[in-house]
């Protein structure tokens, strides 16, 4: 039988090797799944993981990687603080929508005035909108002891309804022939989040994601706040003994993750998406949860995990159109990635031993 021995300290080697092994296992089991669907597994895996980078159409896909990866990384970095501290914000998708709505609303309010001030104002509005939406479950938890997982998740559906109402109502394009959806912000120079280098996919959201990664790294490694976050997650009683105020920690983590999700939404609505539409949100807020854990809640890990996840999005899209793979198969592959990561995680904290004797 298999025996698990707890290691005296987590294995350094396995904490790096586990995500790689998880990706490999996902490829293998995913391949078996695709074979069962009647596809050539090698070809599907190559299409998903390699074609976006190295095929002859890669010039088109590579910028897409940045566009897909940036919001995932930005949201996941914010979530990672709360997750480390044991505060479970599952509603980043809602905060993402609210950030987009607030940012877009500020931009549209100034239309058609041109000023360099408008875009920075939109950024602030996006961050504040997301933060406030994230603070609702935070405040309810602190004040009434409600469960932040449920409240933040349910607020996603509220935000989705609000999004639909806005796209059909106050934010609807007056010159849009009655179609739902706002004016196109990417055609409004003062409010547009355009590519900084043409054809690269590099927009302000990508810059913000990279800055967030660096800030998060410094905070976690060198700052008192990062120390307190880690302490609160690992040993809540010791954290209180060290002077961490649990209520304050909850509010900061919910506000911070909300703000970053809101920023991601605002950069999306003013750039790649361009306008507020009913189906504006595509699940970045949920996928970012996987990204955060795949990157072991470490900023650099999240950067790499965001890239891998963006790859499966784009590669999955290619596989869908070129090989006729069902969209659900791609979602399954992404879920599998988290599943295997959590399973392989055991190796970081435990040593596996095979024994033919009954455990003593």
């Amino acid at each position: 039988m298999i025996v698990l021995d707890k290691r005296p300290q987590p294995s350094r080697m396995w904490s790096y090797a586990a995500p790689v092994l998880a990706v490999v296992l996902t490829m293998v089991v995913g391949g078996i799944l695709f074979a069962a669907l009647g596809k050539n597994p090698v070809e599907v895996i190559r299409t998903i993981f390699l074609d976006p980078l190295f095929s002859k159409n890669a010039w088109f896909y590579r910028p897409q990687l940045l566009i897909k990866g940036a919001p995932l990384v930005l949201i996941a970095v914010g979530l990672s603080f709360g997750f480390r501290a044991g505060i479970w914000n599952i509603g980043a998708e809602g905060q993402y929508i609210m950030g987009a709505l607030c940012g877009a609303a500020v931009g549209l309010a100034f239309y058609p005035m041109e000023s360099w001030l408008i875009f920075p104002l939109m950024i602030m509005a996006g961050a504040i909108g997301g933060a406030l939406w994230g603070l609702i479950p935070g405040l309810l938890k602190v004040r009434f002891g409600t469960n932040e997982i449920l409240v933040s998740l349910m607020l996603v559906y509220v935000a989705e309804s609000l999004l639909a109402a806005m796209a059909l109502g106050p934010l609807k394009n007056p010159e849009g022939m009655g179609f739902p959806g706002s004016r196109n912000l990417s055609q409004y120079p003062s409010a547009a989040n355009l590519e900084l280098i043409s054809g690269s996919g590099m927009h302000w959201g990508v810059v913000a994601a990279l800055i967030a990664v660096i800030f998060a790294y410094v905070l976690l490694a060198r700052h008192m706040f990062g120390f307190q976050v880690r302490l609160a997650g690992q040993a809540p009683r010791a954290a209180r003994f060290a002077g961490v105020n649990p209520a304050r920690m909850i509010l900061i983590c919910m506000g911070l993750s909300g703000a970053l999700a809101g920023l991601a939404g605002m950069f999306e609505v003013s750039g790649p998406a361009g306008q507020v539409t009913i189906d504006f949100n595509v699940g970045y807020g949920f996928t970012a949860i996987i990204v955060a854990f795949l990157g072991r809640l470490h900023p650099v890990g999240i950067l790499l995990a965001g890239a891998v996840m963006a790859l499966t999005y784009i590669g999955g899209g290619i596989a869908q159109s070129n090989l006729g793979l069902p969209a659900a198969a791609i979602s399954l592959l992404q879920g599998m990635l988290l599943f295997f990561l959590l399973a392989v995680d055991v190796l970081t904290n435990y040593r596996v031993r095979f024994s033919n004797r009954v455990a003593a």
Binding site: P8, Q234, R240, G243, N245
Partner: protein
């Protein structure tokens, strides 16, 4: 009386990296109270777990009643007539006494039948217990009675007791001993595990001393001096802590009518706790666990803020201040639970040094941590307190209990507190480390700090305290000079033995 009940022959059990038992042999006679002595980590627990079927020895044999005995699991041991009362109780707080007893039995009768049995056995052995009471409302001593009665209902031939007196008042100990003697007189053998030598001398017929997994001596505890047994246990000559006479200093800490509701269910409310502690003084607070110790230290550390005027430090009211403000003012605490409360298990010693030292040791600058300074502080603690570890980069979890305790106490002492409060400073710590910790506390007081030691170990309190008071049900008794206090006095201060009756020895 002279037949042999259980014989152990050459028992050996090795774990990866450590040999817990090596070639252990001894035997227990019928009706004998046999002591198993040894420090923490000497292999006592592994040995009794082997007898109780929880651990399978690598080699060696056991014979029970002349028949080879190799229990594969506790159920086998119980069928053969071996019962065990563990140091840590396995009871469900929310269930009644009878329900708890039924849950621990192999072939349980109906709860109604058990209630009658519980009444009969508890009366017979002088352990009054109402089978319908909820366990969460019982004192530690009463909980132990539940465990003992659960064993007695199975009519054991051998009763194993692991450190049974650590949660009892002196009077409760006396009554427990009467019960055990009565059991022995009826022919039940008792294997009694302890490191308290006075008790063993009072109770036991024979003693086997274990050190580093091996039997180093067998002796008659009634004929052997306690000091001699202690040195057999430790393997070296013991140093007693040195105390110098201290002049009365100014009042450092004053608790004025400190009251607080219980922070959680089955917690204890603090009721009008009033005391002062002077510079240079060690105040010992005794009492059985669960009488408000955790709440008192939480009120002092700031984890449970109270009204400002209730706690005064050097004349300044600080009862409502936050944890780190109190540290900055000089009031430091070391709680009982090392892993998870005083230290974060998965963090390194450097990070754990930072945990409480950040303010007084200036380990941060405008929010940014000074890691090199934190590492240096951790190294200082490790050196000054002889913490056995490869270095400050190791996790707290990787340290043994005694070493981590030295680190935790050292961390607070090295910050030069003006008041230090410690809860159970030597719980689960071996004798030489315990002596080092007690000495460090006395030295700190000599240097002008006020020290409060909360402990259940009365010997420890008598050794270090200048004044002694007892915490019972959240109330603190008036303090009395520790010198000249007898065990009976202390017992009365602890509230004595409530509703206990002496075993009905004649049956």
């Amino acid at each position: 009386m002279s037949e042999t009940l259980l014989t152990l022959d050459g028992l050996t059990k090795a774990y990866p990296g450590v040999v817990a038992n090596k070639d252990v042999s001894f035997s227990i006679e019928r009706g004998e109270i046999h002591a198993l002595l040894g420090e923490n980590g000497a292999g006592k627990s592994t040995l009794v777990k082997s007898i109780y079927g929880l651990v399978k020895p690598d080699s060696g044999t056991m014979t029970l009643n002349g028949v080879p005995f190799a229990p594969g699991e506790p159920g086998d041991a119980r069928k053969a007539g071996v019962a065990m009362v563990f140091q840590h109780f396995s009871l469900f707080d929310a269930m009644s006494v009878a329900e708890n007893i039924v849950l621990g039995m192999d072939n349980p009768p109906s709860p109604r039948a058990i209630a009658g049995e519980v009444r009969r056995v508890s009366h017979l052995y002088g352990l009054p217990l109402d089978p319908d009471r909820i366990v969460g409302d019982l004192s530690a001593g009463e909980r132990q009675r539940v465990e003992i009665i659960r064993c007695l209902l199975q009519d054991p031939k051998l009763l194993i007791m692991d450190e049974p007196t650590s949660v009892l008042t002196p009077q409760e100990v006396d009554i427990l001993f009467l019960t055990l003697r009565k059991l022995a007189a009826e022919g039940t053998s008792i294997l009694y595990i302890s490191h308290k030598l006075g008790e063993i001398a009072a109770l036991c017929d024979n003693a086997t001393v274990l050190r580093l997994g091996q039997v180093v001596a067998t002796c008659d505890p009634r004929q052997t001096a306690p000091r001699e047994m202690a040195e057999l246990m430790v393997g070296t000559v013991l140093q007693s802590p040195v105390r110098t006479a201290r002049p009365e200093g100014p009042i450092r800490l004053a608790l004025k009518g400190l009251s607080a509701p219980a922070p959680q269910r089955f917690g204890t409310a603090l009721k009008d706790v009033t005391i002062t502690v002077r510079a240079g003084e060690v105040l010992g607070i005794g009492g059985v666990a669960g009488n408000g110790q955790d709440e008192l230290i939480a009120a002092l550390s700031g984890e449970m803020p109270v009204a400002s005027a209730m706690v005064e430090l050097d004349g300044t009211p600080i009862g409502a201040d936050a944890v780190n403000a109190r540290r900055a003012a000089g009031l430091l605490c070391a709680p009982e639970e090392r892993l998870g409360h005083a230290a974060a298990p998965d963090m390194t010693l450097t990070e754990n040094a930072l945990l409480t030292g950040v303010r007084r040791k200036h380990l941060e600058q405008r929010g940014f941590l000074r890691w090199p300074a934190a590492t240096a502080f951790a190294k200082e603690i490790i050196e000054a307190f002889d913490v056995r570890t490869p270095g400050p980069g190791n996790t707290a979890r990787s340290l043994s209990g005694g070493n981590l305790q030295k680190f935790v106490i050292g961390r607070e002492i090295m910050q030069n507190p003006s008041v230090l409060v410690v809860n159970q400073p030597t719980w689960g710590v071996d004798a030489s480390a315990a002596a080092a910790i007690r000495q460090a506390l006395l030295t700190l007081a000599d240097e002008g700090a006020a020290v409060i030691v909360i402990s259940q170990d009365l010997d420890e309190l008598m050794e270090v305290s200048d004044r002694f008071c007892a915490l019972t049900d959240g109330r603190l008794s008036p303090a009395r000079p520790a010198r000249g206090l007898s065990v009976e006095d202390i017992g009365m201060m602890l509230g004595g033995a409530h509703d206990l009756e002496v075993a009905h020895v004649a049956t």
